[in-house]
């Protein structure tokens, strides 16, 4: 009897999954749909996670280089929240961190604009000057990606810092050290970008 109940429950969930798989317009042909439904009925634990995931994100949104203003702004907001959260929990100069973050945000925006301008220039440029322009564009994108990564890292570390004093004090000290080394890297990045910008103008 118990085995029957288990089997009936399994098949009931399988039936719901098969119905769902028939409703989602992923497969065009009828045979493919029937195959997917049969698979979902018998082996739903393996198909349900994929159906719950939703349609895949269009390719290229993750690494799309042009016009990342919204992305930069989102990161800045997140960093701001993390700063607020870490306030009072950490004995580092948070105003300095905020200033540095604002500077980095400006640099990243500048890099982003430059990248877009360079892309437009590459599209119109004659073939002879295209290669150096492309190299410039690539280095610009690398700088931008590196800056965004540093911003993420700082956000993560600051979020962790808000929790660090809840437990082990040694862990707190090591977290603080990590944030300090990250800040020095950020400072180096901001000033390096400024030099490049100065040379470029």
């Amino acid at each position: 009897m118990t085995a029957f109940i288990v089997l009936a429950t399994y098949l009931a969930i399988g039936g719901v999954t098969a119905g769902l798989s028939l409703r989602t317009p992923r497969q065009a042909s009828g045979a493919a749909r029937a195959r997917a439904a049969a698979f979902a009925l018998l082996l739903w634990p393996y198909t349900l996670p994929f159906m719950l995931q939703g349609p895949p994100r269009p390719a290229g949104t993750h690494t799309d280089a042009t016009g990342r203003g919204a992305e930069i702004q989102g990161r800045e907001q997140r960093l701001e929240q993390a700063l607020k959260r870490a306030d009072g929990a950490a004995d580092i100069d948070l105003t300095r961190v905020a200033g540095l973050a604002a500077r980095l945000g400006r640099r990243l925006r500048h890099l982003d604009e430059r990248g877009v301008a360079l892309e437009a220039a590459i599209a119109e440029a004659p073939a002879s000057v295209r290669a150096p322009l492309e190299a410039l564009h690539e280095s610009c994108q690398d700088d931008l990606a590196g800056g965004l990564r540093l911003m993420d890292e700082l956000t993560g570390k600051l979020t962790l810092l808000a929790f660090a004093n809840l437990g082990d004090s040694r862990a707190h000290v090591s977290e603080l050290d990590e944030v300090r080394s990250l800040l020095s890297r950020l400072e180096a990045m901001a000033s390096a970008t400024r030099e490049v910008a100065a040379v470029g103008t």
Partner: protein
Amino acid sequence: MPTASPILPYRSEHLSPFLPWADEDRRLPSAKHDSDDALLVQLLQAPAAVVDRILDPARAQATVYSSVAIIAGASGLASLIMLSAWHDPHRMALLNALMVAAGSLGALAASIAPIWGLGVLRTVRMPLPQLVALLTSSVAAASLLLVALSAAPAVLWRLDPDWAGPLALVGAFGTAAIGCAVRFRTQLLLLAQRAGVEGAEASHTDRARIELFARNAMLVLAFTNTLAGWAWLALG
């Protein structure tokens, strides 16, 4: 003065090495390069290529389907080879092979949710579809290994049904289980490497958490497999 709880504004965890930090919808990055080999070949020799398949949203589900078919076929075939030592009637041997195939698929299916839950507890949460693909491909590799090993118990059982046969049987399953664990761990580390910062190794603590998670996951899988085997024994 009321202070905000440090827990409340914490909307999602930032610690899982399988998810990029501060990524809005928390998906793994897509595959880097393709390999043209068939899945059967890649399962045996190229865990990195299998990880590429798992990361590619278009191929992940097909990988799961193929792995499930390989698990069912290979475990059924292994049981047919092993049971040939007992001179079973033909029909019984086929029924047994079907039961073993269904049992191993059921045991794997039962272990998915607990393993995912363990990942959340160990702060190595990974998207469920990728976890399913990772588990099925690891078990498929192990079941192929089991087919290769199953000839030894079949032969040794006929020579010495008291000692060498049973020992070879346990040894074959044990070796396949170890192979599954090694493959699962390798693929987990590769996935963490792909999801992290480009070209960077996973940090020491990340690695430690992944190792712990891999061991826990294999323990769950061993437990559900044992339960499945016991259920078939109880059914006779």
